[in-house]
């Protein structure tokens, strides 16, 4: 295995936030005496990422994903723990480090709004010391991949969200970073633009060998792009591994699909089985993983089964369950 480019050990980040009750009285009181509360955004998270990997960073809102990315990119100092990216300590913000990373944020723009993108790109070229020939080559390549030739000379203010996102990506990749942090890059985009950007990310990762950490709430982004996912919730790491393994490891249940001949067999179902769907003699049951074999045998013995299959639940359902319940029984 290649040496790890990103090493995170026991990372913790606690924010101190002012707290007050609603109302004018409480507001006035907080002027004189402010009460603070500690919020543990990230708790004891550890992982390593090798060069060229495409890792999905998932978790519900407020799980600590963006905080972790901000520590990795050097924007935040951690409260405790050790982080090395490309051999650097990110929050020292050495110029040699910053030149080799990039962060693209779906909800923030680094473009200048009143001038054409080409001018913003030129400024970035100077800031990152990109030699003119290399600048032109990279720009041409990115513009071709994103099919955005005609956008280069129009003011950004008039762009659609999707067009603006293309510009953000060019802006983020002009200096050919070795590590790329993508924070919700498809946020708010329509389905075909999402698919188009996904193809771009996959192709760019393949061509350049860049290491990517992607956060997204669209599971389609993650399933299409990330062979490996890291799941965090309430600031803690719940899962780190292949996407396929997530359901297997984290979902405490399986789905049994049944086709029955004739009668509705619901009366004969064991109490552990929840009916998820029922239509024309087809039943879908949710059963605890451990008891799946006994329940299956029981069903085959007691019901007029025509067809039966046992499956892992779809990834969206697993994620939804984890997000809602906040924990999983592994």
């Amino acid at each position: 295995m290649t040496a790890s480019q990103i090493v995170v050990k026991n990372l913790c980040k606690t924010y101190r936030v002012p707290e007050r009750e609603a109302g004018v009285g409480a507001a006035l009181k907080s002027l004189m005496h402010r009460v603070y509360r500690d919020v543990e955004a990230v708790r004891d998270v550890s992982f390593e990422i090798a060069r060229g990997e495409f890792v999905g960073f998932i978790g519900p809102n407020g799980a600590g994903k963006t905080t972790t990315l901000k520590v990795l990119s050097g924007l935040l100092h951690p409260t405790a723990g050790e982080v090395r990216v490309l051999g650097f300590t990110p929050w020292e913000r050495r110029h040699d480090y910053l030149r080799r990373i990039s962060m693209v944020l779906g909800n923030k723009s680094q473009m200048l709004w009143d001038i054409p993108p080409l001018d913003s790109f030129n400024v970035l070229g100077d800031i990152y010391h990109v030699p003119p020939a290399e600048f032109k080559r990279t720009l041409d390549e990115l513009v071709a991949l994103l099919d955005m030739e005609e956008l280069l000379t129009k003011p950004v203010r008039n762009f659609s969200l999707g067009e603006r996102m293309k510009c953000e990506l060019v802006a983020g990749l002009l200096h050919r970073p070795d590590v790329l942090f993508l924070d919700e890059p498809t946020l708010g985009l329509d389905v075909s633009m999402q698919a188009r950007l996904r193809r771009f990310f996959a192709e760019y990762n393949r061509r350049s060998g860049v290491t990517v950490i992607l956060t997204s709430h669209y599971m389609a982004d993650v399933t299409a792009l990330c062979p490996r996912v890291i799941l965090i919730h309430h600031g803690q790491l719940l899962y780190d591994g292949a996407l396929q393994g997530l359901a297997e490891k984290l979902a405490p249940f399986k789905l049994i699909r049944l086709a029955l001949s004739g009668a509705n067999g619901q009366a004969a179902l064991p109490p552990e089985a929840d009916v998820v769907e029922q239509e024309n003699g087809h039943l879908t049951l949710r059963v605890p993983r451990a008891t799946t074999p006994t329940i299956t045998a029981h069903l085959l013995n007691t019901l007029p089964v025509v067809d039966l299959s046992v499956e892992d639940p779809p990834i969206e359902a697993v994620i939804d369950q984890i997000y809602q319940e906040g924990k999983v029984e592994v």
Partner: protein, 263 residues
């Protein structure tokens, strides 16, 4: 030099930006002329009554106004727009847009101080230099190369002090991101329109050593007219360096507090 190249790039961008809004040009021009007119008019009215005021003649007071306006124009040209973009409710620190400034492989203080330019302030600068030139022309023969050199040094010190004070006030944004602290300072800066010598003793001390807005304008003007007490120029330079060091330290301490905006 990389930083000069970047500054040049920022200026070009600013010119493109300003050309997108033509009307702003004419409004800015009107504002500059009004600002200049009221300043000059006040001084001319005053000196139509008296010959000198505590040793200040019309010529030296005009020169001082010229220095005041020049510093104001330089502030409006880049220090102001860059630093003011940090603060306030739609400021970069509040919105988290400052993330992009921190991610650049360039000195953060340099980028925070130089990245936004307001080319229309060049009009102010031209008018200000006009007033300064008029004052100097009226001094005539008395201008020696030594005095001009002292003036340039005093002016540089004044600019550095102005920058340091604005940087220090802007750094407070890291403690309270919604508030535009430089407004506090603007009221004090108005006092630099007139020679510090005209103010009562205690205020003179405050304006010279505590919030040295007086030093910014009075010392360069006194350098021109030859009224500068010995040692004051060196004192101004030392003060400017001390203020710069202090403001830089405050800005860097503030930076460490920056927590970025949520998500």
């Amino acid at each position: 030099m990389d930083y000069l190249k970047l500054i040049k790039r920022f200026i070009v961008i600013a010119f493109q930006d300003v050309l997108a809004y033509r009307m702003n040009f004419w409004i800015s021009l009107l504002y500059s002329v009004l600002n200049l007119g009221t300043g000059v008019l006040g001084i001319v009215v005053l000196f139509s009554q008296v010959e000198t005021l505590r040793g200040w003649t019309l010529a030296s007071t005009l020169a001082l106004l010229g220095v005041y306006l020049t510093l104001g124009a330089l502030r409006g040209l880049f220090i102001g727009p860059s630093l003011e973009a940090l603060a306030g409710m739609d400021g970069e620190v509040w919105t988290g847009q400052f993330d992009f400034t921190l991610l650049r492989p360039v000195d953060v203080q340099f980028l925070a101080s130089f990245r936004h330019w307001r080319p229309l302030a060049l009009l102010d600068l031209l008018l200000a230099l006009g007033v300064l030139g008029t004052g100097m022309a009226q001094m005539g023969q008395t201008l020696t190369p030594g005095r001009v050199l002292a003036f340039v040094v005093g002016m540089a010190a004044g600019l550095l002090i102005l920058y340091a004070i604005l940087l220090a006030f802007s750094a407070l944004v890291f403690w309270s991101p919604g508030f535009l602290f430089t407004w506090l300072f603007n009221a004090l800066l108005q006092m630099a329109r007139y020679p510090v010598g005209l103010y009562p003793g205690w205020l003179r001390l405050v304006l010279t050593w505590i919030v040295p807005v007086g030093v910014m304008t009075t010392i360069p003007a006194q350098a021109l007219s030859g009224d500068l007490p010995t040692g004051m120029l060196a004192g101004a330079v030392a003060l400017a360096l001390a203020f710069f060091a202090g403001a830089t330290a405050l800005f860097r301490t503030g930076l460490r507090r920056y927590a970025s905006a949520s998500s």
